[in-house]
Subunit: 608 residues, 2 copies
């Protein structure tokens, strides 16, 4: 309990009292751990937060934000005045840290995410930047119950991330009760060791022990280190120290608490800068090249196109990397691995860690394309949600979506991915129907800000889009001309829609098929034009009826001048196994069903 440690406590008490909310007791338990880090071990130029050689500090226990902000003040990064704006409207110092603060890499506050993201940063340091910066991650003991923490433990050890130090603040008390492990530090040590880490148990209020542990962590090679620190929640203020019922609220008597902690202080720490702050991150020499193209009429699965395109993008851009959830021969990211092995990351069956690694890497500017079965991104939805709050740039691709995958059955069929990804702030949701569309959309994703999601298909589709036709995020294309009715489709059902339009043509009904490869943003102009010119709209998608293409089309017309009736075709019953055609038919999203629906609503004037 150094003077600095006490200052961090005092400031945690002051800011949360000023806000009349927040988590001072969760901050006070870790104050000594962070004081010693700041004074003796951290290498971070607070004047130059983007210096690639800086160490990284992640508060996986994001609710200890008062402590984090108190550190910023001690480091001279923010003023005491700003500290006291904590949690106020307009302040950067939100209830949980967000990267609108220059020194914050990622948003935390959903427990169990900081450490997996730290793994991504440490992977970037070791395998991509190839710089000796360290990643320090403060974890709560409550969040050790989140499975994602153990995904991180496994990956960090497997990849030998000795540049990563996790610090578990074992204050024993969760929000309402003692954790499952309590103060049994040895259990944390045994678990960490069983997962391949070097583990050090200490008294988290003993500055010398903390100092020695950090030194040991920095000297340990070949494996990550975890410091398991026994602490007391609310340490230093008897009214709250190690007491239940004191979570997430300011101390009752601020003045007395500050006095008990030795009073207000104005210590300023000259945090060490990186030892060799001028080193440039590694960059990968690339041969260049061009996007692959396909001839109109070829039959090719967009997942295969995905593999070829990201491989080409890897040749064109040295900062493009690929990650996969151990299904790389299904998503075809294996092509990238074969071509650019040192920029491919196998994340095994751990989708939370898959997304978290991509989030961590993009902190350092690496552009990861992360792929797995589309259905399994639902496992990482909280990570995607938080990535948006992190203002992260993510490129995600899900394969094997919808009933069209066939025999594997519903567990492998993403039927909610459009809904899930549309409801992410700043996202785009793409679903090319052919390989040339996939190529151009993936190329545009490289530089796109925010969360980009692209669904690929298991089965082959006919290439309809000429390679030299522009395909852009927010665009669409007309796959069949007509003006008696508009059919808006995407992905696998574009073929079905065109077949339906051809059939209707024989009946004298002229149907316009819009290939809405960009579901968010949707091509509102094309939809509104179709509404005006065709009078009735049928939407069709291999997705549940909620939150997908149909809803997006309705949204595009919500306050339009022309609002024709819209018939939504989508998967409405739980699918089973079967052949793709059987399942498209059973779900009533095949050519027959589309033709039937279009016939019903086509302009009264048409012969139908």
């Amino acid at each position: 309990m150094s003077e600095l440690g006490q200052q961090l406590r005092v400031d945690s008490v002051r800011s949360s009292s000023a806000a009349n909310s927040g988590h001072p007791t969760s901050s006070m338990s870790a104050a000594d751990l962070m004081a010693v880090l700041l004074e003796k071990h951290l290498r971070l130029d607070y004047q130059d937060p983007k210096n690639p050689n800086n160490d990284h500090v992640i508060f996986s226990k994001g609710h200890a934000s008062p402590l984090y902000y108190a550190m910023l003040k001690a480091a001279g990064a923010i003023t005491d005045e700003e500290l006291l704006t904590f949690r106020r409207f307009g302040s950067k110092l939100e209830g949980h840290p967000v990267p609108i603060i220059p020194w914050v890499d990622v948003a935390t506050g959903s427990l169990g995410q900081g450490l997996p993201i730290a793994v991504g940063e440490a992977l970037a340091g070791k395998k991509l930047d190839r710089l000796p910066y360290r990643v320090w991650c403060l974890c709560g003991d409550s969040e050790m119950a989140e499975g994602s923490m153990w995904e991180a433990f496994e990956h960090a050890a497997f990849t030998g991330l000795d540049n990563l130090t996790a610090i578990i603040d074992v204050n024993r008390l969760g929000q309402t009760r003692e954790t499952m492990v309590g103060w049994d530090l040895d259990r944390y040590v045994k678990r960490a060791e069983a997962f391949g880490w070097h583990a050090i148990a200490i008294d988290g209020h003993d500055d010398d022990a903390i100092d020695a542990a950090y030194t040991e962590a920095r000297e340990t090679t070949g494996k990550p280190t975890v410091i398991v620190a026994r602490t007391k929640k609310g340490k230093g203020v008897k009214a709250v120290e190690d007491l239940p019922g004191k979570h997430g609220k300011p101390v009752e008597d601020e003045e007395a608490a500050i006095e008990e902690l030795g009073g207000y202080r104005e210590l300023s720490v000259d945090v060490a800068k990186p030892d060799d702050g001028g080193r440039e991150p590694h960059s990968f020499d690339v041969p260049g090249g061009e996007l692959p193209t396909w001839d109109v009429g070829e039959s090719v699965a967009t997942r295969e196109a995905y593999g070829k395109v990201i491989t080409a993008l890897g040749s064109m851009h040295g900062d493009v990397v690929a990650l996969d959830g151990e299904v790389s021969n299904s998503t075809h990211s294996e092509m990238f691995r074969e071509a650019h092995e040192d920029r491919y990351f196998e994340m095994f069956i751990a989708e939370q860690q898959l997304v978290a690694a991509a989030v961590g890497m993009q902190v350092r500017g690496w552009k990861g394309f992360a792929s797995t079965f589309a259905a399994f991104f639902s496992r990482a939805y909280d990570f995607v949600r938080m990535a948006a709050i992190s203002r992260a740039d993510l490129r995600l691709s899900g394969s094997h979506a919808g009933v069209s995958i066939g025999e594997d059955g519903p567990s492998q069929m993403a039927l909610e991915d459009f809904a899930m990804f549309r409801a992410v702030h700043g996202s785009c949701v793409l679903h090319p129907s052919d390989a040339n569309q996939a190529a151009q959309l993936l190329a545009e994703m490289v530089d796109r800000k925010g969360i980009s999601y692209l669904r690929t298909l298991r089965g082959k589709t006919q290439v309809r889009t000429p390679a030299d036709e522009a395909v852009t995020i927010g665009g669409s294309r007309i796959a069949h001309e007509g003006d008696d009715v508009a059919i808006v489709a995407c992905g696998i059902v574009v073929d079905q829609a065109v077949a339906a339009a051809e059939q209707l043509e024989g009946e004298g009904v002229s149907a316009r098929v819009i290939d809405a490869y960009s579901i968010k943003p949707l091509d509102q102009e094309a939809i509104r034009t179709a509404a005006r010119e065709c009078g009735a709209i049928v939407t069709v998608e291999d997705h549940w009826p909620e939150g997908g293409l149909g809803d997006a089309v309705l949204d595009a017309l919500a306050d339009a001048d022309e609002r024709p009736p819209v018939t939504k075709l989508a998967v409405r019953e739980m699918p089973t196994s079967g052949k793709p055609d059987e399942l498209l038919h059973a779900a009533a999203i095949d050519a027959e069903a589309i033709a039937g629906a279009a016939r019903q609503v086509a302009k009264a004037g048409s012969p139908a």
Copy 2:
């Protein structure tokens, strides 16, 4: 490698060859493990699959379905003819097991879910049913990389589930490569022991060793047992045994494989029935009681109502239980814990295990209400998705949603929960605006089939709904009469919408406020009536614009005769910390914004 084990292999080869897809090699590795289980240790009356005393078998590695179906045939539960319908359209034997098969408890196929669900079943056996049945869970080694498996390990040990046996089929090979652990059984053993399990490492093809391990598992008390079995993928057929590149495809030469395995067999196992098959499950005596009610005009948070109501439901129904993710003093499920301690389950900060436990318990008919912050259900989205495929009845309640939570910031604000839960097959999505609505909706959830989700509010809202007014899933209520414009709102913004309507009234604009407490199913009749009578609609919700109430309203009008313009008010920028009122205003979903939008679109004839 007994005769039965070989038969299970042969039948795995045959069914997947007949289907021309599937996972025979992942089945063959575990065939001996399952043969010994079936012949010597399982207590399951296949003629009476609903017998409460039956053991439970869960294939967490659901892709080994050929093995599971081969077991059903060996047990006389299905015919050889049915076995060969594997993966065909119309067959119950889907690519991954689903509970349309009477002996299947839950759908698996998304890895890492079977074991957490098994924990729920074992909890039900020990704490609720109080019957000595055992839960046997076959796990793949690849899925040990899923964090959810370690959530299960921790909970099973913490609650002393000695009625649970996990069997890890360590065949070393994933879909594309070796797992991170390979055949290093000792690492699994150390991890399991560190998490508090009894662990036994064996050769998974040595029948005597398997038999002894099961015996040891059954005799072990106070803790769950894991059997870590070294196996070979594709065991028994040299063309595929322990070879990469053989995942998820039929063997190339079916005939030769069958011959190598000793040929076709027709062994039939007389699986032991439960030792005391007539025992009745425990039932909880309950005092009965009534739903709480509130007076119109009272101010109460719906999360507080949630606590009171589920506590009352617990008094009325002995089969109602509650689970929480260590935020019970926020969700107010703590009231249930205090009243019905033996039916409350603390799942700590492990939302995947939280949902999985509820899934497991409902297999045995227990009606769990599972609660956490609404945002954190996104962590368990894949579990909810799979629960729908499991035809599970789930009751989920998320508190602290939307910008109205205030200072905690966006990490704690669910803004995608409507979208996420709407896109679940057979779900309902509810968001009461006051306590009396919450009470009636929660009461209806008790007996509702499928996935039910109810969002509660952190802040207080005025009770507007008389306690004796009917509130039903699929209903709505008019909170303010009017016919110049309709405002459709839910939850926290109903108060704002009514304030807007009152303001507009002073301007001579008569606005109808529809309180759409049931977002799915939406009260289509009320929306269509409003469309006809009011001519223009404004929707308002504390949610992203995608996939929520606004989209549901548009969907209700998609093919209606009257399709007036709809203005969607929703949260369109990333929120920050601040006071609830500041944030509602900043998001333009407060009374001022609603009045402004309504004024713009109200009937041309109105004075505005």
